[in-house]
């Protein structure tokens, strides 16, 4: 099925502050080694979609850095490939409207529109097939008021764009107002989807759910591609204890880790204790430090014997020393 892709990687809501102060939700580090956008991007690539536009804020440096080497998603193409579409967009309508050149030049007629903040793992070929079989105008996945993916013919998309260009949101404002005139289908599915913009609880739930092998495998099956950092395998020293946890490559673990996700290149030293926590990449937990219910952003350092223990989630912003 010939289709091209469009991913919204803006963050108009910043619902995970302070984590989203420094990056859009699409660029949130998840499951130890990924960024949220890897899931929509990889699902597209696996379905043979080789022309993908990503609209993002001009200040999304973290995301631009992540996407810098397109070959990591096999998107270094002469025809098609990865199109970074930066701008200060007001909303989805604006983001489409300012990139009509990209839409127009695409050779494919169908477009898969996705939100980069959503973590899921599906075969878009099934969605495209369903869309064609049903002869739908639009096929969407997720909430009918706020889907995380939809498929539409690009000419129909452009008609709606030009007819309703003063509206703000393509789906909530434009599509909703002409809903009765369109044949809209919902793709039937029951796989888990985590829309990170929903807030910190969704982000946390994604990680705790992933400590179940079936959920973890479901989310990461069939290759989820991400930016390589070429770390060696995780190393576990003589003093460590690990229970129900994900430990990423490049980590050196000497402490006790329970029911947690530890991101790439992190160090947990002997005598440290980490429970029900999410450590993004490059975090250091020194000897004797105790962490319970903590989300630590990248480059956080927990000094020896410090305690961050609470029944509520504690979020530590990037590059802090605790």
């Amino acid at each position: 099925m010939e289709a091209f892709g469009f991913i919204f990687a803006h963050d108009w809501v910043h619902s995970l502050d302070p984590l989203t102060l420094v990056r859009p939700a699409s660029s949130l580090p998840v499951l130890g080694k990924y960024r949220a956008i890897d899931f929509s991007l990889s699902s597209m690539v696996r379905a043979g979609i080789v022309r993908i536009g990503i609209s993002l804020d001009t200040e999304a440096v973290s995301l631009l850095d992540h996407l810098r080497i397109a070959s990591q998603w096999d998107l270094d193409k002469k025809e098609g490939g990865l199109f970074i579409l930066p701008g200060k967009y007001l909303g989805t309508m604006d983001a489409f409207f300012r990139n009509t050149t990209f839409l127009r030049r695409a050779e494919e007629e169908l477009i898969v529109v996705a939100w980069g903040d959503s973590v899921y793992n599906i075969d878009f070929n099934d969605v495209l097939k369903y869309h064609v079989d049903k002869a739908a105008d639009i096929t969407y996945l997720g909430d009918s008021e706020d889907p995380f993916v939809f498929v539409i013919n690009k000419y129909l998309l452009m008609e709606i764009l030009f007819a309703y260009k003063d509206l703000r949101d393509f789906w909530r404002d434009a599509v909703s107002s002409i809903r009765s005139d369109l044949h809209i289908e919902q793709f039937p599915s029951n796989f888990p989807v985590y829309r990170l913009s929903d807030g910190l609880n969704t982000f946390y739930r994604l990680h705790m759910d992933a400590l179940d092998l079936d959920v973890y495998r479901g989310l990461t099956q069939n290759m989820v591609m991400t930016k390589l950092r070429d770390f060696p395998p995780a190393k576990f020293s003589t003093t460590c204890r690990i229970t129900d946890s994900i430990i990423s490559d490049g980590c050196i673990i000497g402490g006790h880790v329970i029911h947690s996700v530890v991101g790439r290149n992190s160090v947990i030293r002997a005598g440290a204790y980490v429970e029900n926590s999410i450590l993004m990449q490059d975090v250091v937990v020194e000897e004797g430090a105790r962490l319970v219910n903590v989300i630590a952003d990248r480059y956080t350092v927990f000094r020896a014997n410090r305690e961050v223990v609470s029944n509520e989630l504690t979020v530590i912003p990037r590059e802090n020393v605790i």
Partner: protein, 409 residues
């Protein structure tokens, strides 16, 4: 200076037994996620060498698909000097002949200096100081050497030098070594000089066309001032099952002599796109490396687990090296086991029990209590294997086999 690195990747690795039955030695997995050739390739990348020629021979397919266009090592350029050159005229008769048969290609690049490397060694080395040494000595031929324990000198090609590090003599696996300086198989030659040497060697009937045993002795005999550069970092010739196993035990040591965690000298390999390893239930790992995609429910001690392996409930894996995509069944106990990739070990299996008995087929290969399972081996539930056993690729093990057994396909 225009430098071409030629990586000799033809090794059959016969002393790695069933691990290299259908796999060239440079393609053997090392350190969980790497293949042995990744070390030489990454060294080239970090040394900023741009001309790379890989010369495979034995079982080249997997090697060629692994290195592909050289992208993981950043060798992809608009004008690329990266090439994989399997035999295209006739089988390579020796290391020197392999280079000789590719004279046309090397002439086309016309390098000033050619560095000859082996794809069989595990080490982190910057080749630029070697090149600098070569020009400081104003030499046309230098080799890299490393000191080895005197008692092991009889296993190496030994270099005897004078006080200026000029090479006086070579001793191949000497019973009475005059020095403990081992030849690392890393050579730098002035291309025009090497070209003449190769052309002359190519016409000789009495030559085995090997750098170590033919070319170098003749270089020294001719009076050519050739020098031995001293390298003092970690260097492992993955020649035997024992050295392969010891290399992994070096990695799991608290302060490994081979530091894979140096951010300035990462080892690159082809990407596997696998999720981070997950530990479930009472699974544990101590002094152990676990690679991406693996699931650990059992217990690991002083072991290395390859990509996408599954260690099931209550399994106990000690001083073992588990190849990628392998499964270790519930309650199975492994002591000093090396597996190739995609090995399936059922439930309640015991490997590595009993007293060590010399292997019935190849006692010199399967030593040090280590049992080796070739790739795609299936060990059925409840089977037992002793120490120093070997199981051929794709064989099925069912029943009880004492130490030293050799199990055929």
């Amino acid at each position: 200076m225009n430098v071409l690195a030629i990586i000799l990747a033809g090794g059959t690795g016969t002393r790695l037994g069933v691990l290299t039955e259908t796999l060239a030695k440079p393609s053997v997995y090392f350190g969980g996620k790497y293949r042995i050739i990744d070390f030489a390739l990454s060294n080239c990348a970090h040394s900023q060498l741009e001309g790379i020629a890989i010369l495979p021979q034995y079982r080249p397919v997997e090697l060629i698909s692994h290195v592909a266009m050289g992208r993981p090592w950043d060798f992809v350029k608009r004008t690329s000097y990266f090439a994989v050159l399997p035999p295209h005229k006739e089988w390579y008769h020796g290391t020197a002949d392999a280079v000789y048969q590719n004279i046309e290609y090397i002439d086309y690049l016309n390098p000033d200096v050619v560095i000859i490397l082996s794809a069989d060694h595990v080490y982190l080395m910057d080749y630029r100081p070697l090149l600098k040494y070569m020009s400081l000595k104003n030499a046309r031929a230098v080799l890299a050497s490393t000191t080895v324990p005197w008692e092991e000198a009889n296993r190496y090609g030994i270099v005897v030098t004078d006080e200026h590090e000029r090479i006086l003599e070579f001793q191949e696996k000497p019973t009475a070594p005059k020095s403990n300086l081992a030849n690392m198989g890393i050579y730098a030659f002035d291309w025009h000089y090497l070209r003449d040497l190769l052309s002359e060697d190519g016409t000789r009937e009495d030559s085995s066309h090997d750098f170590g045993s033919d070319l170098w002795p003749r270089v020294v005999a001719s009076g050519e001032p050739a020098y031995a550069y001293k390298f003092d970092g970690y260097w492992l010739d993955v020649g035997t099952i024992k050295s392969f196993w010891e290399g992994h035990m070096d990695l799991v040591a608290p302060f490994p002599r081979l530091n894979l965690y140096d951010p300035r000298w990462k080892i690159y390999t082809s990407p596997a796109d696998l999720p981070s390893p997950i530990f479930l239930g009472s699974g544990s790992a101590r002094s152990t490396l676990v690679s991406e995609g693996s699931v650990v429910k059992g217990n690991l001690l002083r072991s290395v687990v390859g990509l996408q392996s599954f260690i099931d409930d209550d399994a106990e894996v000690v001083e073992s090296i588990i190849g990628p995509r392998s499964y270790i069944g519930k309650g199975s106990k492994l002591y000093r086991v090396i597996t190739g990739e995609s090995v399936h070990i059922g439930n309640g299996v015991i490997i590595g029990e009993g007293d060590p008995v010399p292997n019935e087929v190849a006692p010199h290969i399967y030593t040090d209590e280590i049992s080796v399972l070739g790739r795609n081996v299936i060990v059925q539930d409840g089977s037992r294997l002793g120490k120093q056993c070997a199981v051929q690729e794709s064989a099925t093990v069912n029943g009880i086999y004492g130490s030293g057994s050799f199990i055929y396909r």
